[in-house]
């Protein structure tokens, strides 16, 4: 029985480790400025914790086999603790964990603690059951007024978020159901929700943030590669949660300007 436990625990450990190391399932291709840092933190945690995992499980398997009943004629040995050893392993664990966390903290801080730099592209994301809307403030750089009474999600675009067209600042606001972003420019994101909590998750950008009704949440990030990236809702928002998805088109600055001008023209 001891041998069986050893074999099964080791097998589970090695098979699990193989799938992680072989990256059969892995983070999607990274396409934002923070992504390499986040992936680096993943890799670091991965190597450290993978080592601990293999050591702990293999150790467990080995001890179980080695000290099964009848393996030796020696009576059970026991200790009442070893203060030095206990202090050493506690200190080591503490140092490892806190150090790991400190290393990752700048990635977290860089997108959140300070506002976006000037010149960033402002985009307002609004989540509602079960769609995302994206607003660009237009040439004036100012978001126009919205009015709850004017909201008509079934009409889509500007009417969906209740844009008040009588406000001069609203005249040039563009609202779309698909997100366009220029590559290599910082995006100054404002996240809102009108009904229940949603969460704006773009796996390729390593970006996730809840959109909470009653709050306007600011974050910023920089897409670094041209391409189309999927948006998924990551907070349970009702029956259509699973299909509340969208697409971010990261395009060249030139294409972005063209697209925005075309949208302005359509209004």
């Amino acid at each position: 029985m001891g041998l069986a436990l050893l074999v099964i625990i080791w097998l589970i450990t090695f098979i699990s480790t193989y799938f992680f190391v072989a990256k059969v399932w892995w983070l999607p291709h990274a396409a934002s400025a923070a992504a390499p840092w986040i992936d680096h933190q993943f890799a670091l945690t991965y190597v450290l914790m993978g080592t601990v995992f293999v050591a702990a499980q293999c150790g467990l398997g080995w001890l179980v086999w080695k000290h099964r009943d009848g393996a030796s004629s020696k009576p059970a040995g026991y200790s009442h603790g070893n203060a030095t050893l206990e202090i050493v392993w506690t200190a080591l664990t503490a140092a490892l964990f806190v150090g790991l966390n400190l290393m990752g903290s700048h990635v977290w801080a860089s997108e959140r603690f300070a506002p976006a730099t000037t010149g960033a592209v402002p985009v307002e994301v609004t989540g509602m059951q079960f769609a995302w809307y994206f607003r660009y403030p237009g040439p004036d750089g100012k978001y126009g007024r919205t009015d709850l009474k004017l909201m008509d999600p079934s009409a889509g675009n500007e009417a969906a978020i209740g844009l008040d067209t009588s406000d001069p600042a609203a005249k040039d606001d563009v609202v779309t159901g698909t997100m366009y972003l220029p590559v290599q420019r910082e995006v100054d994101l404002t996240l809102r929700a009108v009904d229940v909590i949603h969460s704006f998750f773009v796996p390729a950008l390593r970006f996730k943030q809840d959109a909470v009704p009653g709050l306007a949440i600011h974050m910023h990030f920089t897409p670094t590669e041209i391409g189309d990236y999927e948006i998924a809702c990551a907070e349970l928002c009702g029956l259509g949660h699973y299909k509340m998805h969208g697409v971010v088109h990261v395009v060249s600055q030139e294409d972005f300007d063209k697209w925005l001008a075309a949208r302005e023209g359509e209004k």
């Binding site: 029985m1 966390n101 998924a232």
Partner: protein, 588 residues
């Protein structure tokens, strides 16, 4: 420290008649069995729900005929609707977290064993004890009733985040009376848990028999005692939270609903509430809750291990007890790690990540104690031992995943993915279940007076152990690939390639569930046909093994119990009962 009352008093005469004896019983042993049975029923219901969910996730077009008979609206023609999937998921989480994982290891085994382990004739407040079981039962009936009300069970998850859970039917199906029943069910469950916690604390402090000092308490009793304090503080917060939620829904208040919500084109008549307030209140309970689930598991495994390794744990009673106290205390200052991306201040995320990493230290110490205790042991592999070893392995694996989630930078990607689902099923779900199985196989002879079948027990262990890894380790992998949890189908391009993996998980989950019927058969068959159990089948040393199997009504047949030793008097073949005045063999 000497206990306050030197000997246990008999509180009440043996009851006469079936109702007083087995239904509205004040006997802690019957109440323990009632809780255990309720948890078993709840566990199989919760498992059936997970089966339906896993079939749907693996084969979204599958027709499940039984389901359409059970819920013609939720699964017309047997094809599950997205909202019914979410309802099943909500009730799976609710039933498993509250009525199985919170109830079985603490209220089930604790009620039966704690008074015996401290040498008492019953709990300190037997009537309160009866009340706490029957209040739990009402909570369970309310939860199950949601399946039979017209608009079905709630769909906002076991976490019931507001405003989705608070605004009513306007937010879609599953938000009608099902959600009200849910709030009331959990509120009622909180009351029962508070009553139970009081009883555990007072019994441990006041009813210890002569010589049963705190340092001689069995580790399971220590765990239940510490856990009772954690429960007392945590459920005291969840109770008002549920009531406020129900008030928002029925009383027109706006505790959790901000102004200006437009849902389904309708402006909501609420103002001034905060969705984040709900999350703070819920997780102030919710994080201690995962330790409320796992601390009794720590205790059960720490209690069982010495019996089967035939030596005390490394560091004696102190090291593991201090680790459990540290875990219980720190569990109250880490709740914000559930809310890194919730819209809470990002500075607070950094603040909460620090105690979150610190709470792993006592957990690591506990794991090291169990593992190092195996060194130079003479291990016996009876079924309770196998499940204890399985617990250690699962808890290590779950704990490793925790490091990815404790750091805001990596959690922001993994949050709300199946990585989290795999992680918490390892750490608080299956770890606690494995410990509960260990406890069940270990104490079954004492509770019912018969032995369980060892071969079936071992088959149950091997299948469960391997399949649990197949299901939940794989969820970690799909989480890395970005699979979002709480999706009733996978339509995003990046999740579609994972569907074959989802099918693998589903097959493993169905087999894992099937393996549990081996256990159920073994338990029911052994209850009636198993060989008669001796008083002390495992050669253990604590007080529950120093009385008949099952124990008489007053636990020790009127014997005056005096305790001379700690609970881990093992040295290979030699062992000394706690009540034996013989000389110590292990110095505990």
């Amino acid at each position: 420290m000497e206990p306050m009352s030197a000997h246990a008093a008999t509180h009440h005469a043996p009851p006469q008649g079936f109702i007083r004896k087995y239904v509205f019983s004040v006997d802690h042993k019957i109440i323990g069995i009632q809780y255990t049975t309720l948890s078993l029923v709840a566990a199989f219901i919760g498992m059936a729900l997970s089966w339906a969910m896993r079939i749907h996730l693996g084969w979204p077009d599958a027709h499940i005929p039984l389901l359409s008979m059970f819920s013609p609206n939720g699964a017309p023609g047997g094809l599950m609707t997205p909202e019914y999937y979410l309802s099943l998921m909500t009730m799976h989480g609710t039933i498993m977290a509250f009525f199985v994982l919170t109830a079985a290891p603490m209220a089930g085994f604790g009620n039966f064993m704690l008074p015996i382990q401290v040498g008492a004739a019953d709990m300190a407040f037997p009537r309160l004890n009866m009340a706490s079981f029957w209040v739990t039962f009402v909570g369970f009936v309310l939860a199950c009733a949601t399946f039979f009300i017209p608009d079905g069970p709630p769909l906002s998850g076991w976490t019931a985040y507001a405003p989705l859970s608070a605004v009513g039917t306007v937010a879609g199906p599953g938000q009608g009376w099902g959600q009200n029943f849910w709030g009331l069910s959990i509120a009622v469950f909180c009351v029962a848990s508070l009553l139970g916690a009081l009883n555990f604390i007072v019994t441990t402090l006041d009813l210890r028999t002569k010589g049963m000092t705190l340092s001689r308490l069995p580790l399971s009793t220590w765990a239940w005692f510490i856990n009772a304090w954690v429960s007392l503080l945590a459920f005291a917060v969840l109770l008002p939270t549920c009531l406020l939620l129900v008030l928002d829904r029925l009383g027109g208040t706006s505790f959790f609903i901000p102004a200006g919500l437009v849902i389904n084109d309708q402006l909501q008549p609420h103002s001034g509430g905060s969705p984040l307030l709900f999350q703070h209140l819920f997780w102030f309970f919710g994080h201690p809750e995962v330790y409320i689930i796992i601390l009794p598991a720590f205790g059960i495994v720490s209690h069982i291990l010495p019996t089967f390794i035939r030596k005390p744990l490394v560091g004696g009673w102190k090291a593991i007890t201090y680790a459990m106290i540290a875990v219980g205390t720190l569990s109250f200052v880490v709740w914000g790690h559930h809310m890194f991306v919730s819209g809470m201040s990002p500075f607070m995320a950094m603040v909460f990540s620090v105690p979150t990493l610190f709470i792993t230290i006592p957990s690591v110490i506990a794991v090291l104690i169990w593992t190092f205790s195996l060194y130079r042991a003479n291990m016996r592999f009876d079924t309770p031992m196998l499940f204890s070893l399985g617990f250690i392995s699962l808890f290590i694996s779950g704990g490793i995943g925790g490091f990815f989630l404790a750091q805001p930078s990596t959690d922001s990607y993994l949050h709300a993915t199946s990585f989290v689902v795999g992680h918490f099923h390892f750490t608080m779900g299956l770890s606690a279940i494995f410990a509960a199985f260990a406890g069940f196989y270990y104490w079954f002879p004492k509770m019912w007076g018969r032995m369980m079948n060892e071969t079936l027990g071992k088959v149950h262990f091997w299948l469960s152990f391997v399949l649990v890894y197949c299901v939940f380790m794989t969820m970690h992998l799909t989480g890395f690939a970005g699979a979002v949890r709480r999706y009733s189908a996978f339509v995003d391009d990046f999740m579609v390639p994972l569907i074959p993996t989802q099918r693998f998980i589903s097959v493993a989950a169905l087999l894992l569930g099937a393996a549990q019927f081996i256990f159920l058969f073994n338990a029911i068959w052994s209850r009636f046909q198993g060989p008669k159990a001796p008083d002390n089948p495992w050669g253990a040393t604590t007080l529950e093994w120093d009385t008949t199997s099952p124990p008489p009504f007053d636990n020790f047949g009127g014997r005056q119990i005096t305790v001379y030793h700690g609970p881990m008097e093992y040295d290979g073949e030699a062992s000394v009962m706690q009540t034996s005045p013989e000389v110590s063999v292990a110095g505990t």
